[in-house]
Symmetry: C2
Subunit: 451 residues, 2 copies
């Protein structure tokens, strides 16, 4: 794969020449071609150290912030302890905490010892919370002031504080014990007369998120209220950090990936695919696969039950995969649509009758088309008109059945407080396989006067 060679050699050459501009442009090339993560994962110890030397702490910290935390962690681990500490210090604290969480504990301790005590303390604090909680997502780099300042004094204070802060769009007002008293927006601050006391400007009813809440809750608050940042507080309403709006896309991406993996019939991987070992993939898949196998095993019983019908008209067996496959396809179409509509809040249990009516009508129309297609297919296999009519009627029954089951099941599960995401495409296909066969052979018995 010669295409990949060029930027790789360029980065190597740039590092060897200790050329800042060339290194930066090589990194930009790698980012553009989407190969940055791969290249970074294959850095040697010497290259990593030269990268730190050439870029400096700030630029390297920024680069690591763009990588997957575990890739960033492996690069940091290649550096001398003091350098790793400097780079971590230069990073956004929430990103630094994610990276530190991926480094071996004893190595982290060595690095933290080399950091400024305050920043090390901050990082230790952030590492206490689960990565997908509000506490794991928050940054302590917010701006807070005492309630007894004026607007002018606050703006002066901001000039000192703004460099360390991740956002100054909101300034939080706290008492000496860090209790959150209110918030004021930079906009309001700028547009008010300089001598206005802060106590007059602050908005006391601040929406906040508990530190142990799911990160999704913070994303929802930010999105629904159109905020740029939301404060994270402990049980005593003490301000611990903020989550900014630029985290929303990340949070939504993680949560959506989990939903999609569930819809595909496996447990969420919880890490990037290329990083997942075969053992992890196996563990996330085998449970559902066995559960579905047990459910599907029932089809064997059904078929043995109808053994005499199959023996009498072997042609019936030709259509087994076609009929249950079509049922599974319809079920999968319906289930993914309904589960997604539930996830975004478009649909809930009280809509069940409207949904069933809609899917019944759609199912009838789809069933008619599929019946015609199946009849034509049966004729091309020259199995006789009676078998052709049998499979045509059976397929329309299966299509309608699959559409209704696919629509109702997620709603009923939600009502029973089971996560509707367990109704994956494979789940509904499996369910329709066994029941579809019963529809098929019941129609066959009636039409072909068997049994």
């Amino acid at each position: 794969m010669t295409i990949n060679q060029e930027p790789l050699t360029t980065l190597e050459a740039a590092l060897n020449a200790r050329d800042v501009a060339a290194t930066t442009s090589a990194l930009r090339e790698l980012t553009k071609s989407g190969e940055l993560a791969d290249r970074m994962a294959s850095l040697t110890r010497a290259e990593a150290r030269r990268l730190a030397e050439v870029l400096g702490d700030e630029a390297l910290g920024e680069l690591l912030g763009e990588l997957d935390p575990s890739d960033a962690a492996s690069i940091l681990s290649l550096l001398a302890t003091v350098d790793a500490a400097d780079v971590l210090e230069s990073m956004d604290p929430d990103e630094a905490a994610d990276v530190a969480a991926e480094i071996a504990p004893e190595r982290v301790d060595q690095i933290l010892v080399e950091m400024e005590p305050i920043e090390a303390e901050e990082l230790r604090g952030l590492m206490l919370y689960p990565p997908d909680s509000a506490g794991g997502r928050m940054t302590p780099a917010f701006v807070s002031i005492a309630p007894d300042l004026t607007a002018r004094q606050t703006i002066l204070a901001l000039q000192r504080l703004s460099e360390q802060a991740e956002t100054i769009s909101y300034v939080y007002v706290t008492d000496e014990a860090d209790h959150l008293l209110g918030v004021l927006s930079l906009r309001l601050l700028v547009l008010s007369p300089p001598e206005t006391p802060i106590a007059q400007l602050l908005i006391p009813d601040v929406v906040s998120v508990p530190v142990l809440a799911d990160q999704e809750e913070a994303a929802q608050v930010l999105t629904e209220r159109g905020l740029l940042a939301v404060p994270v507080v402990d049980d005593d309403n003490r301000l611990l950090g903020i989550i900014t709006v630029d985290d929303v896309a990340d949070i939504l991406e993680q949560e959506t990936t989990e939903d999609i993996e569930r819809l595909g019939g496996s447990e969420p991987l919880e890490e990037p695919y290329l990083r997942a070992s075969p053992i992890l993939l196996w563990r996330k898949r085998v449970g559902w696969l066995l559960a579905l196998f047990l459910a599907e095993a029932y089809t064997g019983t059904v078929l043995r039950h109808y053994q005499s019908e199959v023996e009498a008209v072997v042609a019936l067996s030709f259509f087994i995969p076609l009929l249950i496959g079509t049922g599974g396809n319809v079920g999968s179409q319906v289930v993914t649509t309904i589960v997604r509509a539930m996830a975004v809040g478009d649909v809930r249990f009280s809509d069940v009758f409207r949904i069933v009516k809609k899917e019944l009508i759609t199912g009838l129309m789809l069933g008619a088309v599929m019946a015609a297609a199946t009849f034509v297919r049966a004729m091309t296999l020259s199995v006789g008109i009676d078998v052709g009519l049998t499979v045509a009627i059976a397929v329309s029954g299966i299509v309608i059945w699959a559409a209704v089951v696919g629509a109702v099941l997620p709603l009923v599960l939600r009502k029973l407080r089971v996560d509707p995401a367990v109704v994956s495409a494979p789940f509904i296909s499996t369910l329709v396989d066994g029941t579809g066969l019963m529809i098929y052979f019941t129609v066959a018995r009636l039409m072909l006067h068997l049994g």
Copy 2:
């Protein structure tokens, strides 16, 4: 359903009593219980008019902005033309344009005539662009100033402009012909000495998005660069509007819904599920269903080809759904994981060998488990050890095959510039059905010395 009755009567009662506080609290209750959209969709003409009267233009405009545009449009259509114009005027222009796009054209023209000419012109402009383009998403409510002001003059100007603007975090600098010259942040403005000329503060290299670009591009720029807003420009770099960060979640939700619907094997609905008519659902599903049917029809040919094997050992037919179903489940697990990993940029074509190796190892481990399970199941159906071994070997072959095909196919399609999202769970199940049967009967021929 008595639970739903209370807030409904409350809203009616509040409207009849023309009680602002009670109406607001009834609306809040409906929002909390998730019934707001339903209730709004069932407003009568008299109720809608009373709602406008009680809430006033501003509050009603805000309420409509939270609804689905087509629901908002049907409420607006119930109002008198003058009132509808006032409410539209009070809304954020981008939201107003989305709503106006859902009203019948001749009715929109009547309403636009009643609006302030400038605002009507603005709305007409926004309605020109496709709703999923940057132009359809943008708001013209940005703040721009001439380059010859000082920081102090700019802040004074902001005090006048800020009410109409959606965000003042960034102030854009434009020449008389609206060409985008640069941007300055409110933060920088506040923290600079008052007499600094704007020309010294502005950042000339502004990232912008073309007006006809996909809205996803704007979301990517906002997310990757951590911006609060991105300017939208025409071919001549004239500033037309901005897209703010609070639109990102909306855009991502829309795009993800499309991805998920495709993975489920149908075309994206492009509207909320409850709003989609059965005809629309039918149209979005029937194409893929027929395509999959054609692909699956092949299984009939395969089975007819092996008819003598099935007649010799009818027990072989018992396992058809179980074997191909398991193959489909594995394929669906792998495909959804890989397609999602490609969508978020975790995986690309150059990773194909790593992916195949990973899936081969995982497939071997899964195949071993499924072979054991299948053998046990065969014994419970008392079909004999030779058939049991046949199905056990066949299932492990099918599992490995499904895992590899499911992993490679999306990558190859992307390489061929076909959207990998066409490889839905139903698609891979269908593909594995026909090929799985060939694996099954080939193993059967060899093991059972048939044919």
